[in-house]
Subunit: 261 residues, 4 copies
């Protein structure tokens, strides 16, 4: 392998004995006490401090994804903690491993779909309803579901969506992508004849596009938020455990003879 | 196993078709737009909204732990992403797995030490310097280092510590535990004759005790914060990768004949 | 959600106070001392004991995937262990997280491609060279690489491949799928004019099809094998560590000013 | 940090274009077809091929730890797969994260206890019953349980233990450590007046000491074995899933009002 040696470099942070710099700012004097955790996430991802409007909207996106009660991911963190209470970090890690294509990952799918219609940093070339017709037809021809629409529980609307769109609009972050997501919903409902609410991951995917985040990193918003929520579940598991009880119930039932056809 | 069946319960969150509740609050109307991500973490862990003073201090603790440049944990996330870019969540998870006893886990050790001297919710029974003498003597007799003191790089002081203590003091969160941590430092320096600055994990451990967080969950503060930072590293890895270059350099060197005695 | 309650059941194993059964066999008397670890993996996946021929071939597949020197996955396990030596299991877990689409996962791609041409349990409907022409043309039209061919280092052949095919042939496990993989190689070389050796993951994918393993589980063969190898790396890391040295080298270089354009 | 640069080296494996070497042996010609997966694990950990006796005994240890029906770790792998079926490796990784101090990790505790009484590579300085009295008294004085004894389900004996000790004895691997573990059991039963069978992790810990494995790596035997078992659970989850059903049952119960005092 004779390839030219690539140098290693990071812009994220660096330390000397008396200084800790993050994204070019002095951590103690310029960041601590001035940035909340969501703002710090924004700084990490963009290299800039958020405006007040960006701060409210970006924090709202993240906060939405922190907690959704008992999820598979929360169960995983609790069951893992039951076996290795000395490794809290591994319990959180285990819980994050399942945030893939089925659950939290759908933010990514929605964002990717929207960016394919309106490239990041570009003006749309056609009206939202025209773009939406092409998007929905394309998904139907490939027999794929349109990401960001529908929810198994939250019907007829996902209560997070109108609130997220309201916050985005009040803060100047409701533009072409939110309009397109809404047009996609209308078209999908028209064509299918079914109610297909924009779910929280669809709303978040659209607002993330308004910020201009690359689609490859958008799943990461859910991952960082859920890490916060999983620590909450582990604290509750310490005080009021359910992991061992769940395991024993399943072991008892699943280990016996099959109960149904 | 004839044990009485334990019921399963969570106070963290629950959903019905039209409502999502977190810690008893309506997520869309009472949380989104009102809580930043650090406040949401506080709500998860305590069930209460932070006061403005608690919000500033708690966010500062978390923000401190987000980013420290190239750490083993950042390298792990980057190397994992290089092999499985379709599983961003697994790259973050892998990065978190190493936040154990050697690095971020020392917040836990400091907090535990302080709680052993002053039980959570109790007034101290003796002056800080008396308690500190016992703590330091006890660690010396067991030949263990005192957690939260000293740093391989940040000498003579860790620049995060005075700033964190300042923020805590300005917000009414500098009490018995911060005083005790400072007394422990003085006593350890007196006895050892060495400069032993309180490091960031020592400062955070002490302030976390001021909040009253159980010691078992304090490592979780670093875990949630670092999850934010690791997403930042993955985004940089997408744009300007170093994982494959590091791997190839190490492979070339380590796979050859041994180079030193 | 009014869905009918599904019962929970496993065929893998069950325990009573005096008996432990795995796949219907008594673990102490019928398995221990009779099955090696690879045979046990076969039992887990198929419910059957391997024939001697299956045992040799299946163990060879797994053994191939255990160790490949310094890989990203080995580095991840070592760096994680450096931070959390009390959680060996988390270091192995972290190392496994990166076995995705780029590295070990390509066994899965090869198997899936072969099963699409010759459905599991069916006779091929056309000669291998005819099927191969369609496969290669299809990948070229989608501008995708053919899985299981080529290797950045092992040129002109991957030394594992002829040996694996030899073992499979000697044990009656070289049939339609191995023949098709070889025809795909010839066709890809003919069309591209380049040398494209079948790599180890291509050979393993083909042989796994001969066994009839579903393509969705084939990545799991590499995952279980690599878990063995990662424990080896951790033991070496305990005795002769490299994790901290790698971290410090990268930190020093990457944290400074950028060195190249 | 002016420390002298440490060179990086591995003895485990290395590749050149035409050669892949593992532990000094040519992988294709000297390992594939000759080593089963357990033998390969032995080679990784010791640098030597096992004798036939070592092979049988070491494989038996590993096989014991592969499958124990529905465990927390199996549930974790299944629930993770339900959310991220494209990342099978992350589901196995998540399942491994919980193999800590509570479950599989007790092999480590037993081995460490035995090595403290009889240092690796040394002859015992006293008779087993004398050493056992000291061990049991020491644990009682610290109010700690003796690792490797007792089992919540397998009473009055753990059926794996006599079989493992029989295999070890038939293969010349039952020496001072097995004798000491048995003496510890007798003493613990005498002192407590309770039946305290040696459980499988106690038997495996003792036999691992007969092999001379360092205690820090012994947990790794369970980790590699369980990785095999978790792939089995994931295959069953693909064909006959239980993850979503478990999640929905728990969500329904735990999200409602508390059902007990």
């Amino acid at each position: 392998m004779s390839k030219i040696k690539k140098s290693l470099h990071t812009e994220l942070g660096h330390s000397t004995p008396d200084k800790i710099t993050v994204r070019g700012r002095d951590l103690p004097s310029e960041i601590l006490g001035h940035f909340n955790l969501g703002d710090m996430a924004f700084l990490e991802l963009t290299g800039r401090a958020p405006t007040p409007q960006q701060s409210v909207t970006f924090n709202a996106i993240l906060v939405t994804l922190v907690e959704h009660g008992i999820t598979p991911s929360a169960l995983v963190a609790r069951l893992t903690y039951a076996g290795a209470p000395e490794s809290l970090q591994a319990a959180v890690a285990a819980g994050l491993c399942g945030l893939g294509s089925v659950f939290v990952g759908s933010t990514e799918g929605a964002a990717r779909m929207l960016y394919q219609a309106i490239a990041a940093g570009s003006a749309p070339t056609q009206a939202p309803d025209v773009l939406a017709r092409a998007i929905v037809a394309d998904h139907r021809s490939r027999k794929e579901i349109v990401p960001g629409l529908g929810h198994p529980l939250h019907k007829p609307i996902d209560p997070r969506t109108p609130r997220l769109f309201q916050i985005a609009a009040e803060n100047g972050l409701s533009g072409h992508y939110v309009a397109l997501m809404q047009a996609v919903q209308s078209e999908a409902e028209r064509v299918s004849g079914k109610s297909l609410p924009i779910n929280a991951t669809g709303a978040i995917g659209a607002i993330a596009c308004e910020f201009g985040f690359p689609w490859r990193i958008i799943r990461g918003l859910g991952v960082m938020a859920r890490a916060v929520g999983l620590v909450g579940h582990i604290l509750e598991e310490i005080d009021d455990p359910m992991g061992v009880e769940i395991w024993q119930r399943v072991e008892r039932e699943a280990g016996g003879p099959r109960q149904d056809g």
